[in-house]
């Protein structure tokens, strides 16, 4: 077994036993990226000098992630490295500062291998809207890795980093994790600081990780979670020792299965894998019952109105004045013309669509009909979860209605692409934590099981996901694209 196939816990153990040096591990990853990534195209930027970064001034061999090679989705600001959001409008942006999460990982010894592809400004469900390259699914190179954190999911699945940071606004961690057969944790809204992460929709954007195992995600969350004075939405809830609370059985736990998630549109082969997964949860001792989240069908339209409205305001800052490529002052008559030129050239179609949808939903005459209405329906969706969590401890669902689809299959049909979020958007609107874990395969492609918990109940969520994971071993299967 190669060094790069090991998960975080295993790699740490090798270091502790002094069987291999961090420098050797970083080298192994860099050479694997060189060899494999031309097939996957998950990295937008590779930090060739990563080996020298092992000796960071604030970390040492006792640091929790000392010498662990990781990579960041390219919306996390990284000092001295490009941070593009996979958009032409930020093509040459090198921020002079680190995002809080980047700084936290660096401070405990993690080594940054580089920046990972995403849909442009994280807007998409396939990573195809990236302005620079199309990332491929390691399980089938003709298929998408999901999105928007497709670079993060593909890189972890192909052993091109030990784990990766990612963001989830409507499913962007969980859906690619499902498509690529890896573990994707979207914590509670506000659990991890958003400072230094390029915003998409501020009331929904959540920072998380894509890892090889649940136990790895627990370690990463211990480091990343917590209050940050630079992000006023970070809660002061206790950061628990998630990695010490993992369980192996589920006795006494109640898990609800929402009937609205087993409807037309759910692929029958995916459903079969999920039903088997639910049977496994029962075998581990959980009490399974059917529940109802009655407003599920309204989640995707609610999500697209709210997210697009917030996008239209957040994207207003991209005008070519303070960062990114721009037309020269001499080429334009006035400031407004420069804004038009830079935005027209700099944004791709999906970003333009969402800016326009949001501008429309907030514009005079339509704001009450669309924006206000969506905020009210969001209340119903949140109440659905609040009521359900009075009766059950967790909710189990499919992460996505299908397995990974073909590259190009949905790119010209925005609504079909939006429906890829059908089972992930509700939890985003309610701000509750969710995790996607490998549950098996349908025709050789990974299927993810989504578990949801009440806000700030990550410790229990990870405990249950871990019990499922170690009892099934689906996460141990590796794609064979490179053989």
């Amino acid at each position: 077994m190669g060094i790069t196939e090991l998960n975080l816990v295993e790699t740490k153990k090798l270091f502790e036993e002094k069987k291999v040096s961090p420098q050797e591990v970083v080298e192994a990853y860099l050479s694997r990226i060189k060899k494999i990534d031309p097939k996957i195209e998950s990295y937008l930027f590779v930090n060739e000098g990563a080996t020298a970064d092992v000796q960071h001034p604030t970390s040492n061999i006792q640091s929790p992630l000392f010498g662990i090679p990781i990579a960041h989705k390219d919306v996390f600001c990284t000092a001295g490295m490009p941070t593009t959001a996979a958009s032409k409008i930020l093509a040459d942006y090198h921020p002079p500062f680190d995002a809080t999460s980047v700084a936290k990982l660096k401070a405990v010894g993690a080594v940054n291998l580089g920046k990972l592809n995403t849909d442009e400004f994280t807007m998409g469900a396939s990573t195809e809207t990236s302005a620079f390259q199309k990332t491929r699914n390691p399980w089938d190179l003709e298929r998408v890795p999901g999105g928007s954190s497709g670079g993060s999911a593909a890189a972890v699945a192909a052993d091109l980093c030990v784990f990766a940071t990612a963001t989830d606004t409507g499913g962007s961690i969980r859906q690619p994790a499902s498509f690529c057969g890896v573990t994707g944790l979207k914590p509670t809204y506000g659990r991890i600081s958003r400072y230094g992460v390029i915003s998409m929709a501020s009331s929904l954007d959540t920072i998380g990780v894509i890892t090889k195992t649940v136990a790895d995600a627990a370690i990463a969350l211990e480091i990343l979670a917590g209050q940050d004075s630079r992000d006023a939405t970070t809660g002061d809830a206790l950061v628990e020792k998630y990695s010490e609370n993992l369980r192996t059985e589920l006795k006494g736990l109640k898990i609800g299965i929402p009937k609205e998630y087993f409807v037309e549109g759910l692929d029958s082969k995916v459903e079969k894998v999920i039903r088997e997964g639910i049977a496994q949860l029962k075998k581990l001792g959980a009490e399974i019952s059917e529940i109802s989240l009655p407003h599920t069908e309204f989640a995707v339209p609610t999500y697209y109105v709210i997210a697009s409205s917030e996008i239209s305001t957040n994207m207003a800052r991209f005008d070519g004045v303070r960062y990114g490529p721009t037309v020269a002052n001499e080429e334009v008559e006035n400031l407004i013309e420069m804004y038009f030129e830079n935005r027209t050239r700099g944004f791709g179609d999906e970003v333009k669509r969402r800016i326009m949808l949001g501008t429309f939903a907030l514009s005079a005459g339509y704001a009450d009909k669309f924006y206000k209405k969506a905020l009210q329906v969001r209340t119903f969706i949140k109440r659905d979860f609040d009521e359900t969590f009075k009766k059950v401890d967790f909710i189990a669902t499919p992460t996505a209605p299908t397995t990974a689809f073909k590259i190009g299959e949905k790119i010209d049909d925005p609504i079909q692409m939006y429906l890829a979020d059908i089972f992930t958007a509700p939890a985003s609107l309610a701000g509750v934590p969710g995790i996607s874990i490998p549950a098996g395969f349908a025709e050789g492609l990974p299927v993810g099981l989504q578990l949801l918990a009440p806000q700030f109940a990550e410790s229990k969520l990870l405990a249950v996901a871990h019990a499922f994971q170690i009892s099934t071993g689906h996460h141990l299967k590796k794609p064979t694209f490179n053989l």
Binding site: F97, I336, K352, I355, T359, F360, K373, T379
Partner: protein
């Protein structure tokens, strides 16, 4: 509701985006479908229901209003491609 090419042109202008004729046509069609999709929300009776803007219970997070200087100001300003004068970015005039 009907999404017309004129409405799309108006929205694009508000959003500071130029559209070619072909783009206006394409986006009019796509936005028509998307607006049709989101109109589904009208079937929900929301009379008297409060709006949800924030979900994790945080409100009015206050702190002292203290100045904190960003340590790498010159690097920050160097991110701009426009001429710099007295630590300020020089652009074309906005009026007239």
């Amino acid at each position: 509701m009907q999404i017309t090419k004129d409405l799309i042109r108006h929205i694009a202008k508000l959003a500071r985006i130029n559209l070619t004729e072909a783009e206006s046509k394409k986006f009019t069609k796509q936005m028509g479908a998307i607006v049709g999709f989101i109109e589904k929300l009208n079937s929900v009776d929301t009379a008297g229901i409060p709006e949800t803007n924030q979900v994790n219970g945080m409100e009015n997070v206050l702190r002292e209003d203290e100045i904190e200087n960003f340590p790498k100001m010159s690097e920050l300003i160097a991110c701009s491609h426009h001429p710099i004068e007295n630590n300020q970015i020089k652009v074309k005039k906005s009026i007239g």
